[in-house]
């Protein structure tokens, strides 16, 4: 029997040392993580990073390697359990709407398979369609090929939600719809997650999407989880260069560390700068840091505010992005450093920088992230 009703803190999904090989290819490599009940959890990474395989392991389409790793749902090991024996719903990348069934028959499919009394089905179908804001009167009888991409998306969602699954898996569901609708759907999905109290597991390669919707994000890289945390943790404290590079933009600087009081000084080819204390730092060690463009500033050389790190270079390019301006500065060793400056109106108050100017980029020591060596 299932263990007694779990508390909110107990994870609904537990991966413990799970691996998955396809022939010689290791799609998922010894990963362990928990998903909490009711949270919006994203698996984020580029294609081939193992995020979809992880989702498929959870859905039951793939079975983990038999090396002792376990996938648990609500405390029960489900390694070899078929998808129809799990309490899950799924929205597929291409929606996978049954082309031969009308909208209402698509939504009713799962109810029929679960032997829900026939009298109950129409009501629940209507309810599910309303939940995803598809007018049942207008759309219930339509065939899938009479629907737009966005509407199919909603049908797929209704079809999964109508079964009231414990966990809803979403495999890049917003990839194929246009930007404006995508933004709208992001907010709707987030609202559904909170209103229904369902656990959402969301696979995406779009970092912005993951940051917008997730409670927690697992950034994946070559079959492992590079970092797991809240959007703010991932964005503001990326642990590795991979994460810093994948989520948002970052400038990377590196050199040799020497202790200086409570902090460390780094001697780099571009000049020395100060970094805060971080675990794993040692006298003479090579360190790499990441600084977000918006946490940097640009000043004439030798005019930086005191207390900030400053590294000199030459302006290579000034890019107009609307909300912000990017000034790209080539540093002494030839690397580029991007500084994001708020656009205060280029017609009224243009930026005083142009290509070829000498300038210094600056940042506060605490605004840099000391990266773990991969």
């Amino acid at each position: 029997m299932a263990p007694p009703a779990s508390s909110a803190a107990e994870p609904i999904v537990q991966f413990t040392r799970v691996s998955k090989h396809f022939g010689d290819f290791r799609a998922v490599n010894d990963i362990s993580f928990d998903i909490r009940k009711g949270e919006f959890f994203s698996l984020l990474g580029p294609s081939g990073c193992g995020k979809t395989t992880t989702l498929r392991l959870l859905a039951g389409f793939e079975q983990p390697d038999t090396d002792g790793g376990t996938v648990k749902i609500a405390g029960e090991v489900v390694n070899t359990r078929r998808p129809y024996e799990r309490q899950i719903g799924m929205v597929f990348q291409n929606y996978a709407i049954f082309p031969h069934l009308s909208v209402e028959r698509n939504v009713a499919f799962g109810l029929e398979q679960h032997k829900v009394p026939a009298a109950e089905i129409p009501g629940r179908v209507t309810q599910a369609l309303e939940m995803v804001r598809l007018d049942p009167g207008q759309y219930a009888k339509r065939m899938p090929n009479q629907l737009s991409g966005g509407q199919r998306q909603r049908v797929a969602l209704a079809r999964a939600l109508v079964l009231r699954p414990a966990i809803l898996l979403l495999d890049e569901p917003l990839g194929a719809i246009d930007l404006k609708l995508r933004k709208e759907m992001q907010l709707e999905l987030k609202a559904l997650n909170k209103n229904l109290g369902l656990t959402f597991v969301y696979v995406t390669h779009d970092q912005e999407e993951a940051l917008t919707m997730s409670d927690r994000i697992a950034v994946m890289d070559h079959g492992i989880i590079a970092q797991l945390g809240s959007p703010a943790e991932i964005y503001e404290n990326p642990r590795t260069a991979y994460v810093a590079r994948f989520i948002g933009e970052s400038n990377f600087l590196g050199g040799t560390a020497t202790r200086q009081g409570g902090a460390w000084q780094v001697a780099s080819p571009n000049g020395a700068f100060i970094i805060p204390d971080a675990p794993g730092l040692a006298e003479g060690a090579t360190v790499q840091i990441a600084v977000r463009p918006e946490w940097m500033d640009i000043f004439p050389v030798d005019h930086c505010p005191s207390g900030e790190n400053a590294v000199p270079g030459t302006v290579r390019e000034v890019i107009y992005l609307g909300e912000t301006m990017h000034v790209i500065v080539t540093l002494g060793d030839g690397t580029d450093c991007t500084v994001a400056v708020r656009n205060e109106g280029q017609l009224i108050k243009p930026l005083p920088w142009k290509k070829g100017d000498r300038a210094a980029v600056s940042w506060l020591p605490e605004d840099c992230q000391v990266l773990e060596q991969a």
Partner: protein, 295 residues
């Protein structure tokens, strides 16, 4: 303007001229070798027999009336039943075959090649090969006798069984090919969606796979049923004189019996049956799940 420019100019201004030019050879071919003979046969079928010529001037429906003799109706009924039987057996054997081939990713091209391989020899040769298998001293009886399972050869050849074996053997690929085509393009995520919605393998097949392969099934059924209805070689060689099909009757009217008007009338009756089958197919295709667009 030179000729080339004038021709190009003509096609540029008359867009439909390009389509007609491309269609012309095919249309011409069908008019000469299909439409004209059909009309000639239609004419023959309503003309009286001549004494020294196939037909003579006049109009009569006697050939059609003659066909409704119990003897001929029995042949028609037998032809219909055997064709339907061959279609059903081909479906029962061909569907699992097509399904397994479509699911064997690595080998599917090789397996489809094997399905089509018999076409490399003529149908006549293959039918003769069946004689060598099924006659009293043939491979099947010889093997069974040498194994001591039987002492007397089982009569296989010149039975309805032999005709059915021949029809099924001859037309099976026509069932496998369209079913394979519809199963091969089946989106696998639909099967996964069904599974995650609670469908066990059998329910998944009944509710998703089979309905979506129905256009292939119907196409395969027609591709077996129609040629079976008109076949005469199989029943002639494997069925002997007793197991006559409508095709044999018609062939006989045009050759030995030299009764062209009656042969023409019988042909039109078979054509009418085929037409009914095609209309049925078109209706299924247009309303079937996974078929042409829904209205």
């Amino acid at each position: 303007m030179n000729l080339r420019q004038r021709i190009l100019g003509f096609y540029h201004t008359r867009k439909d001229a390009t389509a007609w030019t491309l269609l012309a050879p095919g249309v011409l071919w069908l008019v000469v070798f299909f439409l004209a003979p059909i009309l000639i046969m239609l004419g023959y079928s309503v003309m009286p027999r001549g004494l020294f010529t196939p037909v003579k001037a006049g109009f009569t429906l006697e050939h059609y009336q003659r066909f409704f003799d119990p003897l001929y109706l029995q042949i028609l009924w037998r032809t219909f039943a055997w064709s339907l039987g061959a279609t059903v057996i081909c479906l029962l054997m061909g569907y699992p075959l097509a399904y397994l081939i479509a699911r064997s990713w690595k080998w599917r091209n090789l397996l489809m090649f094997l399905v089509v391989l018999p076409f490399w020899t003529s149908f006549l040769v293959r039918t003769f090969a069946m004689i060598f298998l099924m006659r009293d001293t043939g491979l099947i009886n010889a093997t069974l006798i040498s194994l001591g399972l039987i002492t007397e050869p089982i009569p296989l050849l010149y039975t309805p069984f032999a005709v059915m074996v021949g029809l099924v053997y001859g037309f099976l690929p026509f069932m496998v090919l369209p079913i394979y085509a519809s199963l091969e393009k089946l989106d696998l995520s639909l099967l996964e969606a069904a599974e995650v919605l609670g469908a066990r393998p059998w329910a998944r097949f009944v509710r998703v796979t089979f309905p979506l392969s129905l256009p292939g099934v119907v196409a395969g059924a027609l591709l077996v049923f129609i040629p079976a209805l008109g076949s005469f070689l199989t029943s002639d060689l494997l069925g002997g004189a007793k197991q006559v099909m409508i095709g044999n009757l018609i062939q006989n009217q045009f050759s030995a019996a030299r009764n062209w008007p009656f042969g023409s009338a019988a042909s039109f009756i078979v054509m009418a049956l085929v037409l009914v089958a095609v209309v049925w197919y078109l209706r299924i295709r247009d309303t079937a799940p996974g078929g042409a667009e829904a209205k």
